[in-house]
Symmetry: C2
DNA sequence: GTATTTTGCGCAAACGTTTGAGTGTTGAAA
DNA sequence: TTTCAACACTCAAACGTTTGCGCAAAATAC
């Protein structure tokens, strides 16, 4: 139980001053060859490592970036974390992960906590509740203090900062166009209510493509899930009541519930009805039939977000502010839930 | 762009000393009513928050706990994180998540990094590579420095610390006994190679139950997956070559590959062959047929681990050391991949 | 032999806090 | 008037670093 070596202890042990030790270890030319060697040998022998906290205080930077996500038990978010982590580590940064659990209050709390010196900047995706409330003061406050923030996936125009998003509209268009190309005529949409930005945008893509292809839009074929906990039965009802030859769902789960409902109705996927999902997770790959889906490339988004943030962190203060939005391209992964 | 309020600035602004400000904010009786009110009002107005880094340095504790896991894109680990996070936040602790990506070197690096002042203690699950190498010096070093460590899931006897595990043997026994009770005679096992402790233990449970029930053990019915990337075809081969009426797989993926192989062979699950998995993830719930499985209760494990760690952190130093191992009970979740 | 430069090291301040000890003023008891 | 406690506040050290500056001794130059 040796209580961690410090400069002070090395100094005492070797009978030199603290600054001599510090300088020696940092190869300062101020220190003589001999003393330097002696100190370095000692430090190495006892495995000296500088205390990060003290360094953070001194340098006024922590070399850690905070990431706040709505939930962690969620494939997409974990891939984003993975992407952030890779880039961050490469650049010598640590990552702190906090969860908002989709709660506004917890998002605020986490942000405040991390903003008080724990991190140099943030990467975050807004909690659902925050987007409903449209209250972003906690974020503007943080940015006002000069801490860079990068928003991803669930972003919002009101906050001025770097952003990483996918083009939800184009992604949705790709999916629906694909269905049309394969001969589908009556394409159902299973989406979320509009305050979830991605639901709104993907719905827009759906509508645009239909219009571009002169397909009549039938409101009955559009389902907007209000209550996630009840989504399975809502989707079942929807499928039972409507006759469709294809379904575009805005996430994996909805797609799978749709497939289940279709199968229970006595129809086959993809022979009778094609289904396309969004987000390429475990389920999409492993489900039978495996899901044709729009891939979001979470890892790439995380990497981009980390790069944007670190860029801001290491930029000289003279350079003028400017915010970028990078759009990570989606692409359609063809599997077995759509006909060839 | 106001650069974050400090005690010093408040002191200058209100023309008192720094210590007066500090004491006033902490409601010290040393400070007069009037000044205290004035200072508190000012602090509130400008939203003063003490700097965590400075506090950490002063108090020699950070109120954060580090968690290092082999991979984050993995349902079980995310549920553990979720559990840790809940308890940690309740107790006023922050959580730093780092990934070892199953690499020994990265595990060492992360540990060193976090050990240098960033966290008060660790919760971790060993990287696969670490278990192969059987090199735990990085962990013993950390514990020698007096930092508490809690190991979970992938644990090892050589390290003396608190541990949270599930009873893999009992869990496996429950599963296999269940299959026997339902009338299965030839139960296949799909496991991992033995240096992955959980694979070994679950295999042991399988063997024990068969022995207890006087069922002959047929080595041909035991598959040990060496190369994860190739597991799908290995399992397909295994199923094709052997006649079984049930399969016990040590994780979700293996279970699903088994089901696929069984179906491709022209047999039905669960009518012809029952399948049981381990770990209750998204896939188990949503797959068709949904999987009967041994639930690991990741969230509960995380919560237990956090409690153990915080307990150690807040214990007075006089109290003597003792290490506990808590075993989180598994239970069988019956779904549709086994016959009734 | 003195004047100047170089070498090798220590001092002290700073980062933002907390806190025990010290200090000066007030008011009351002796 | 002296003594002393109570009050309200400030000083300074500490946590572990880094770094500009100062200073003595040694080495060089004149």
């Amino acid at each position: 139980m040796k209580p961690k070596l410090t400069l002070k202890q090395i100094a005492r042990e070797l009978d030199v001053s603290i600054s001599t030790v510090s300088k020696a270890l940092r190869d300062s030319s101020e220190i003589g060859e001999e003393t330097r060697k002696k100190i370095k040998a000692f430090a190495k022998l006892y495995n000296y490592r500088p205390n990060n906290i003290a360094l953070s205080l001194k340098n006024r930077k922590t070399k850690t970036i905070g990431i706040i996500i709505p939930e962690i038990v969620h494939y997409f978010f974990t891939t984003v974390i993975s992407g952030v982590e890779q880039v961050a580590n490469e650049m010598g940064y640590n990552v702190i992960v906090c969860l908002s659990n989709n709660s506004f209050d917890k998002e605020v709390l986490n942000l405040e906590m991390l903003a008080n010196g724990s991190t140099d900047g943030f990467i975050l995706s807004l909690a659902k509740e925050t987007m409903q409330k449209e209250d972003y003061h906690h974020l503007t406050e943080v940015t006002n203090q000069g801490m860079p923030v990068v928003l991803f996936d669930r972003v919002v125009d009101e906050i001025h900062c770097d952003k990483v998003i996918i083009d939800d509209v184009i992604g949705a268009k790709k999916a629906v166009q694909y269905l049309l190309d394969k001969g589908s005529k009556k394409i159902g949409l299973v989406s979320t209510v509009d305050y979830v930005s991605v639901g709104k945008l993907r719905t827009r893509g759906y509508l645009e493509v239909l219009r571009e292809n002169n397909v009549e839009i039938d409101d009955k074929l559009i389902l907007k899930i209000e209550d996630m906990d009840n989504s399975e039965t809502e989707i079942k009802d929807f499928i039972d009541k409507n006759e469709v030859d294809a379904v575009f769902a805005v996430n994996e789960h909805f797609a799978i519930y749709a497939i289940k409902a279709i199968q229970e109705k006595g129809l086959k996927v993809p022979e009778d009805v094609s289904v396309i999902g969004f987000t390429d997770g475990e389920l999409s790959k492993r489900f039978i039939p495996s899901l044709t889906t729009v891939s979001q490339h979470g890892e790439r988004m995380g990497a981009e977000a980390a790069r944007l943030l670190i860029d801001k962190l290491e930029r000289k203060p003279e350079e003028e502010e400017s915010y970028r939005t990078v759009i990570v391209e989606t692409n359609l992964i063809e599997r077995n839930s759509t006909k060839l």
